[in-house]
Symmetry: C2
Subunit: 556 residues, 2 copies
């Protein structure tokens, strides 16, 4: 490993700390900047109408000549979902493992950027040389194959980012963790470890993926009807286990749902899925097989209303409807925020007559993130001088910090940073070193960052009590109302149930406008303000609601 003498290493997160999602970490070694991961986050509840959220990369754009590369740890959306937006602004090489790059290619293709990106495939044995550092990788176990951690070797010691990981002593396929290499990195000296806090509050060990396979297999052996399995498309090991169970019990498999079809295709073509010849059938052919020969592998494990599973459940899918005799396995747990939609889908499935096997009742899901004992194992393997808990809400970072103290890292050497907060290392000693710009960039449709607080505040207000538009046309010459006031409401009350209310509101507005004319003081902003206030007061008294009031004055 090249270890050129360097002066300063800076480490900071642009996303992924104080939140779950949009992971993006930066390592700046003297003049060279390296990025690890470029994730997205799904909008929080009050981000009305927003599709996705990505990190603010102002700092990287401002220093784009110094950015040397983007390293990807694995192919989940919270680690690669923002890549298109990043690569529109930065022209840098991207390093990822085979499966990760397969998924990235799909994204770049959809965005019409495939030819323009320098995508380099690495495996966990690769090293990449830069002026200031050598970058190496280590295999980790996660709920998608081909996950790696990243290690920046410097003369002050290594900066290590784990990515998402768990330790699974009985993994599926080639998904083990390279514990030996982790120990070796630790023995060579880790200056700073950034490690996954997702499950830092969970005691003990996370279950093995194999347990899920056993549970799925049990259902396959005990079901006479069709079996429908919903899972995360990216959980290739779980999908493999579904194929295995189907094979053992002589069932065919039909794959449904855009992302499921896509991932199965990519994973199969890259050699990450083993599917016996003749096993895949098309959805159209399902009815040509006896029920007990049929498996349907689908998206929709999060209860997404438009995904295949919920459409099948409410008999709104073109080809498949759930019916009595079907067994549905929801091989996933609800992501926080999706509890209601998942619960609703389970209900729909039961109502449609299916037997439903789901998390909570049966062990048909295990987390892809290590629990407390695994996090401590990682800390003990890496023996870092400094520690930055990442991936998670503040309280999870805090819990992870406590674990680090338990294994002997002094609290002075643990930094719970916010997005953009820089930790700088000189001569092997760390200190906080200010902030770079960081925050949420909201994406709504084609707009990147054009929806901000005002728009969101308006949407929230509109969602609560609707809007009343008040239009009045004034004659410039005549100094009187020529037409209106007309009041139109949306999302406030049924008009037919509130005719009297609207009529009275119209009177109030007319009085305000006429008063204003009489006093020869048609200052429009004041007039509008008066309408908003007085009408607002009246409506609140009558209804205890506060619709948005939008006065429009036309002059002719």
């Amino acid at each position: 490993m090249k270890k050129k003498e360097i002066d300063t290493v800076k480490v900071f997160a642009l996303g992924g700390v104080g939140e779950i999602g949009k992971n993006m970490y930066c390592v700046e070694i003297d003049s060279e900047i390296f990025i690890v991961d470029a994730g997205l986050m799904f909008p929080e509840e009050e981000m009305f109408g927003i599709d996705i959220v990505i990190p603010d990369i102002t700092y990287l754009v401002e220093n784009k000549e110094r950015v040397k590369g983007l390293f990807l740890t694995h192919g989940h959306e919270d680690h690669i979902g923002g890549i298109v937006y990043v690569l529109r602004k930065l022209d840098i090489p991207v390093y990822g493992t085979k499966l990760t790059n397969g998924l990235v290619k799909e994204k770049l293709g959809e965005a019409g950027m495939l030819g323009r990106v320098d995508l380099r495939t690495i495996d966990s044995n690769a090293t990449v040389e830069f002026d200031t550092t050598t970058v190496s990788f280590f295999k980790t176990t996660h709920s998608i194959p081909d996950a790696v951690g990243v290690c920046f070797h410097t003369s002050q010691g290594a900066i290590v980012y784990t990515g998402d990981f768990k330790f699974d002593q009985t993994p599926i396929g080639n998904n083990g963790s390279d514990i030996g290499k982790m120990a070796q990195i630790g023995n060579e000296g880790v200056l700073c470890l950034l490690s996954d806090s997702t499950n830092a509050e969970r005691p003990g060990y996370t279950g093995s993926e194999r347990e899920v396979g056993l549970e799925i297999s049990k259902v396959f052996y005990n079901s006479e009807g069709r079996i429908i399995v919903a899972s995360f498309a990216s959980n290739v090991h779980r999908i493999q286990q579904v194929f295995d169970a189907a094979y053992e019990t002589g069932r065919k498999v039909a794959v449904v749902g855009r992302s499921m079809v896509k991932v199965v295709d990519i994973a199969y073509n890259l050699g990450y899925l083993n599917i016996p010849d003749g096993m895949l059938i098309s959805l159209q052919d399902v009815d040509n097989y006896p029920e007990k020969k049929v498996t349907i592998l689908t998206t929709g494990s999060q209860g997404e209303p438009m995904a295949a599973l919920s459409r099948m459940a409410r008999q709104a899918h073109k080809q498949i409807s759930i019916r009595k005799g079907d067994t549905v396995i929801i091989a996933a747990s609800p992501i926080p925020g999706n509890e209601t939609s998942v619960s609703r889908t389970i209900d729909l499935l039961f109502r449609a007559g299916a037997d439903v096997v789901y998390y909570g009742e049966k062990k048909v899901h295990v987390s892809g993130h290590g629990s407390q004992e695994e996090l401590k194992l990682m800390l003990n393997l890496m023996k870092p001088k400094y520690f930055l808990p990442v991936h998670g809400e503040f309280r999870m970072q805090k819990a992870h910090a406590r674990l680090a103290q338990d294994v002997g890292i002094h609290s002075d050497r643990i930094f719970i940073t916010e997005k953009g907060e820089v930790i700088s290392f000189t001569d092997g000693e760390a200190k906080p070193a200010g902030k770079v710009p960081a925050g949420n960039v909201l994406i709504d449709g084609l707009g990147v960052g054009d929806v901000g607080n005002i728009v969101l505040r308006d949407r929230k207000m509109l969602s609560q009590d609707g809007i009343l538009v008040v239009v009045v046309t004034l004659g410039k010459e005549e100094k009187k109302i020529i037409s209106g006031p007309e009041i139109i409401s949306r999302g406030f009350v049924y008009v037919r149930e509130s005719e009297a209310l609207i009529e009275k509101s119209t009177d109030i507005v007319r009085t305000i406008v006429e008063q204003s004319i009489k006093e020869y003081s048609i200052e429009w902003s004041t007039l509008k303000q008066n309408i908003r206030e007085l009408l607002g007061q009246f409506l609140f008294e009558k209804t205890k609601r506060k619709p948005m009031i939008l006065p429009i004055i036309m002059e002719v």
Copy 2:
């Protein structure tokens, strides 16, 4: 027990089946109708702007002469929260235990209805006689004291409704279940049991409230700073345990938050809370005591942004701010839907420097509802001929039905009903007997039921992409545009970032209107439709958003 020969018993739920909340069950014995509970439900995610939801009581209002009484099982909002709305429409006696009625009085007082309601206090030994039935009660254990189940004795056997219950072998205070009486009711013959399905998916037994007390006590013995405990105000036993722990460790207690102050007051005055003299201090006096002598008992365990706890956490409470050295116990688990707000509050507390003890990490909460073994015990005590699982989503009712089959009730004798579905019993035999009107009545401000699907659909649409109001004034005589088109947007895009977009939109509208005038076909509804469609198309192409478009045409 009087057991006059009766012909028909009908049983149906107006709320509480296929959902969690707004419990309301009806037993109709020949000509007499009895109601049990009158709860509310908090709005689901897509019920934008709605405050609360209550059952549709059309059937009861239409038959109000025959409604003989409302029985209350306990004082939780999902069982009594709709009472004001029901008693505005029905003039009937209300039967409840002492604490339940104490809480009901508060509600009636706030609604100015106290003198007008015939509120009768019963205890679990009471019986109430009617022409067709004798009503008796049995003590149950729940997360509020003074909970009872209700039993309607008829010549065909008893109709039993459990209310919410668990079995707790080490309850706090006088909160044990009257198992003997349950067994006796069972031995005398239960025609139909309606039992609580809330935890029907949860294996084993629910923990004892005493375990929570031990955990709370442990924190009190180990903390040097102030202790802040957030809990459900109605969980009087838990509150008692907080007072006990404070007493043992020589701390004073200040009570904060409107509902907490109210419930502590009611429970204390009715003898359900034992508070040693001199132990309560006012919030203003907190700073006069050393930190290790202070306990603050507060609302906000669900992370409600306006409740005392979150305000203290974000330093927005008038008297108390969370600071380093404080220990906060959140002695509650998040109600489904509240996970995000609770999680956010925990983060805020940690960021403010507090140590936070919360569910998941420590056993500072147990459910008030029995798990599978307890539900089976209830079924075995009551030995009902017929069984209706109630309280819960369909899947929970389904899980409860499976438990009933496990203890030997044939599936033909189990009915999973929807709201309004009537089960009728004649000569001890049950059959489905049609439906009475049932559904959700949405309450928004002062409006009861005036917000329906159209208003909610509008609010949802407004919340996603906002609104564009398009105003144009036409001259009747001149047959031309006199003023406008003017376009005002709210919740769509920042106007300053989208001037070009709005300008082009204005052009599009102008063209449509002028075209329409030129063709001498100013059919307004067609014109408006054209504006909505063509402008909508244009905006979707440019932004991939679909704002509501509201064309307003003024004529002068």
